[in-house]
Amino acid sequence: MKITIDRAALLKPLAHVQSVVERRNTIPILANVLLRAADGTLSLTATDMDLDVVESVGCSVDQPGQTTVPAHTLYEIVRKLQDGSEVELTAVGDSGRMTIRAGRSNFSLPTLPMEEFPALSGDTLPTSFVLSAADAKTLIDRTRFAISTEETRYYLNGIFLHEAKAGDVAVLRAVATDGHRLARVQMPLPTGAAGMPAVIVPRKAVQEIRKLIEETDGDVQVSLSENKLRFAFESSVLTTKLIDGTFPDYERVIPTGNDKMLRVESSMFKRAVDRVATISTEKSRSVKLSLTSGTLTLSANSPDNAQATEEVDVDYAAAAIEIGFNSRYLMDIADQIDEGSKAVFAMADAASPTVVTDESDDGTLYVLMPMRV
């Protein structure tokens, strides 16, 4: 294999694929990126056995071929090469090495045979639909903060993507929960998604997909089966295995009869929570909300007797209530609500789930469990 490619053109796909490769690998081939050169294109593939990313980029192919080299090392080399330089990659036969030349810099990396490289992608997935990059972004951004990070709680370690009904309307829903809060976003069901399997997309795949979305303005082709999901972009394809678990029946925790309604401008609310929570311990991060007609009083205290309160004018006319929350959760939700828009809190009591919605967006909904304070 021998190719020549602009350093910047090589760096971008390498950045994508190398982030899939785990830093520590017990299987040597998984530390490598698979390079395939043919027909004026270099394709780069990396996998951790659960997900793989295939990137394609145009290049000058002097001699077609394929090999695998350590992904992180190759990425670091290319990253440190001078911007604007031409990079020549050469792997000769069974030499077991690939050389990287750019200007007066020369590197030689050990290779592993491509036959050892595991294949994850390639099969056809039965359900397929198109999402705009903006919609794909919304599905992820509005939910991923609520994904559980506790590894043994594997069925909550991802976003539950499924078809549902909102009244009579078929919708595509993304839901995530860590057992303390829940985020749900929905949008009209895309053409082709009817009958799709309900799947849990793992957190790592969510992060990688989100990075790829950031660099596209166009549409995203989504394909899935019961155990795999694929996001295809213009020059990259990510295929991931899905979480083998059952997502909880989350609708049971979304209350419908909460009648204590609080409306508050979200960014102002977030700043006030942030200020008051300065006093709260790092461990609990609790903040108490005391609501009386037209006024929200936020308060916090710490075991060493520090105290903080702040009053906020709000739209609230129901019976007085005191309710505690984790301040970080309040701010995470406030972050999802557009600047200048109002967050609507529907509360029942200090021990029951509170529903938070965005007054200007009827597609999102958050459920937050209080803290006992």
Binding site: G179, D249, M369, M371
Partner: protein, 229 residues
Amino acid sequence: MTPSQLILDLGYRRALGRSDYLVTACNADAAAWIDRWPDWPAPLRGLAIVGPAECGKTHLGAVWRRASGAVAVNAADLTVDGLPDALGDATHAAVDDLTGIRAPQALLHLYNTVAERGGSVLILSRTAPARCDFGLPDLASRLATLPIAMVGPPDEALLAGVLGKHFADRQVAVREDVVAYLVARMERSFSAAYRLVDRLDRLALAEGRKVDRALAKRALADDETDRGE
């Protein structure tokens, strides 16, 4: 008071298949009776499974209902007026939690109806039917004819299996040494197994941590405190 995070009641689904039912010496008899159906003694091919709370009676009932197509009836919900709807045109019926019965007359009607239809009745109860005083001699005499399969207190192997199943039902990954730690220190009962797993599941979810030995130790201590030991 230290602030504590409350958790969403996300629920879980119990696996109620035959292969999910763990069998050791203490429940082998009950499982064998279920597997043997419809080869139960005539005339009413009925059975009473008697055992302590959370010993898997409802699970065995679900296995049998799948095999027989029986309807499930909770004894507490049985009423004379509601019986036709509860039974429908089913031939067989499984009656859960016999001790909770409020209308013994309805159970007598159910028994007679199933007998007329040539069906089977499965009674699930914490107490042997003969020891229940329904104040209804006709019902008592009918129930007295049912063979009884007892589920005894769990042995260590079953206790470990039951803990593992409760964790698996809740999709909580727990190492075997944590299960062994619990088995060695917990009250030897089915209800304690259910209670501890429920407590551990909630604690772990509330604190965003895994179920490990340290958490198991706390759950055992909290369980003892709650039970006033």
